[in-house]
């Protein structure tokens, strides 16, 4: 299971080496190895079905098992792919934003965070999930705290408080499940839970898990930590967390709610259906509205992330194949668009030193390629046909109509209109306004930063037109999730 091992081993090695340049090379090698392993796993899963791996030769349910199915393979590919792009891009940006003495710690933490997220994706054991969750969270608190503004520290602290409470809630939920079933293995839990599902203990555990993961997902009323974190963290960290962290949490939600508790319990017996749909729609509308009035572009995108998470949760709440497909697809697609946008903003930050909307005037003339990437990813965020954003929204609308909830379909369209407004504000400033007369002359971002941005922007178009690979995989994953427990 090289996927997790590569970054996990690289992290202490980087800190031991203690030199920024060597650290970057090592980090790059680790993410590339991890990405290659993820590709191999995805290939194997698509041919032979789900893979199980018993750690240390201890068979499940005694030992800790790793379990990768279609869904896990897709998330693995997404996270490692984004990691490769982010680490390639990181060097110039980090040299600008992080003091030399802390740079190798930065790469070390980044690797730990990646290892945690990947571990969450492939583990088949709920307690292991908690441990990996904490690995990724703790390192992300440290990463966020390295932002240049002192408000980054405050944001990191707020995130630490809320994140720790969320993780403790998850731990309590796991404890309740263990109390009733005596097992921690996910597959085993799925078998044994139905017998005891009708007890107050399991219901309480379910509630704790929902709230805990909801905090990590940044589900609407629990999203307060997110905007400041994304706004003040170093550009590389914003891009990495924005593209992966909440997505992996959504994946954990899928795994636990649908995979372990099962559709009938989660969405039938418990009112999770109404909760997810209601909060998801509230999140879409309110976060989009805030984004419309936000002047700091990074924070605007952060609020837009809350809205996008709303779409994903909405899809899960619909609980039909199209809805869940939309959620899974949106995990992948949103990683592409937000990755591209945050990386592009990082390049802007690198050249201009600001992401305030008034400083971006006339960017289209000065950094045409970066601005083009912003345009493409922005269109994708709105959901214009031909981009990835359209595909997942299409499935979401289909899912809503299938459930006979046409107001929801209308809501998705309304959310897209709001997205159109805030993206248009950005595009207008970037492409149609003249730069301020006293603006310093600047060049395009260095190639090392530009290449990952353009690759991600291109991927936005490619997977928007050629949907077989992602939509096919997502649909099979959704069917598997919904079928298993019928």
């Amino acid at each position: 299971m090289l996927v997790v091992l590569a970054p996990l081993v690289a992290a202490p090695a980087i800190v031991l080496i203690g030199r920024a340049r060597a650290a970057w090379h090592l980090a790059l090698a680790a993410v590339v190895a991890s990405f290659a392993a993820a590709c191999a796993i995805a290939w194997k899963v698509s041919r032979e079905g789900a893979i199980d791996y018993a750690l240390g030769g201890w068979e499940a349910p005694w030992g800790i098992a790793y379990h990768v199915d279609f869904l896990g393979a897709l998330v693995l590919l997404t996270v490692t792919g984004i990691a490769v792009a982010v680490v390639t891009y990181a060097r110039p940006s980090v040299e600008r934003e992080i003091p030399e003495s802390r740079r190798y710690y930065f790469y070390g933490c980044l690797m730990l965070c990646l290892a945690g997220l990947l571990g969450m994706t492939i583990t088949g054991d709920v307690f292991n999930l908690f441990v990996f969750l904490e690995i990724s969270s703790l390192s992300s608190y440290a990463l966020i705290g390295m932002g240049r503004d002192r408000r980054a520290l405050n944001a990191a602290f707020q995130y630490l408080v809320m994140g720790t409470i969320g993780a403790s809630f998850i731990l309590i939920g796991i404890g309740f499940m263990y109390m009733m079933t005596g097992t921690l293995n996910m597959a085993d839990l799925a078998v044994r839970l139905p017998e005891v599902a009708d007890t107050r203990t399991i219901r309480a555990g379910f509630a704790f898990l929902t709230v805990g993961i909801g905090l990590k997902v940044a589900l609407f009323p629990l999203h307060l930590w997110l905007p400041n974190v994304y706004a003040y963290a170093p550009s590389v960290v914003s891009a990495f967390l924005g593209a992966t962290a909440t997505k992996v949490a959504v994946y954990a939600l899928l795994r636990i709610m649908l995979g372990i508790f099962g559709v009938e319990f989660s969405l039938g017996e418990m009112p999770l259906h109404a909760l997810l749909v209601g909060l998801g729609s509230l999140g879409v509308v309110s976060a989009s509205l805030v984004a419309v009035f936000e002047r700091n572009v990074k924070r605007m995108l952060a609020y837009s992330s809350v809205a996008q998470v709303g779409y994903m949760v909405l899809g899960i709440g619909l609980a039909n194949t199209d809805g869940v497909t939309a959620s899974i697809l949106h995990i992948f697609n949103h990683a592409l668009m937000k990755g591209a946008l945050f990386l592009a903003l990082g390049a802007v930050m690198y050249r201009i030193g600001s992401v305030h909307i008034r400083d971006l005037a006339g960017l289209g003339r000065r950094m045409p390629l970066t601005a083009a990437a912003i345009l493409v990813a922005g269109l994708s965020l709105i959901g214009v046909p031909g981009t990835v954003g359209f595909v997942s929204k299409w499935y979401l609308v289909l899912g809503a109509l299938e459930s006979g909830l046409w107001p929801l379909a209308a809501l998705v369209l309304f959310g897209s209109i709001l997205a159109l407004i805030y993206i248009w504000r950005l595009v207008e400033v970037v492409w149609f306004e003249r730069p301020a007369a006293d603006a310093p002359a600047i060049d395009e971002a260095p190639l090392q930063m530009l290449a990952p941005i353009l690759v991600l922007a291109f991927a936005n178009l490619y997977f928007g037109i050629n949907t077989d690979l992602t939509a096919g995989l997502a649909q099979r994953a959704a069917e598997a999730l919904l079928e298993v427990n019928r």
Binding site: F130, Y141, D149, L153, I165, S168, L171, G175
Partner: protein, 124 residues
């Protein structure tokens, strides 16, 4: 079992401390209490009525379940790490803002916001 009551009491108390106190260090203490409450909950789960410590010994057939203990060992490590990160963040906040009171920090952030800064200036 009184342990459950103790655990729930600690949990609620800790949550209150985290929410009600504006002092960041006190918030970290609250978080520590909160995770301790969860530890107690887990240890209580592991207790088997009439069982002894899970060490192989002659004449004993009923043991407490050792698995929750092992799990909680991991969780304790996580808790220590969380406290360490939280406290070091508090130290750096104190260095950057000159205070660890949340309302004063919020005040300063608001002023920075009104001055039109957008989070790109250096700390110093």
């Amino acid at each position: 079992m009184y342990d459950y009551l103790v655990s729930v009491f600690l949990m609620m108390g800790a949550l209150y401390v985290v929410i009600a106190h504006g002092n960041l260090v006190k918030k970290v203490i609250g978080l520590g209490m909160f995770s301790t409450a969860v530890f107690i909950l887990y240890i209580t789960i592991g207790k088997v009525e009439g069982g002894t410590a899970p060490i192989l010994e002659e004449g004993v057939t009923v043991y407490s379940n050792p698995l929750p203990h092992v799990l909680i060992l991991t969780a304790i490590v996580v808790g220590v790490a969380t406290t360490a990160v939280g406290l070091s963040l508090a130290v750096r906040i104190k260095a950057a803002y000159g205070t660890v009171e949340e309302d004063e920090i919020t005040e300063m952030n608001l002023q920075a916001e009104e001055a039109g800064q957008d989070g790109t200036e250096d700390e110093s």
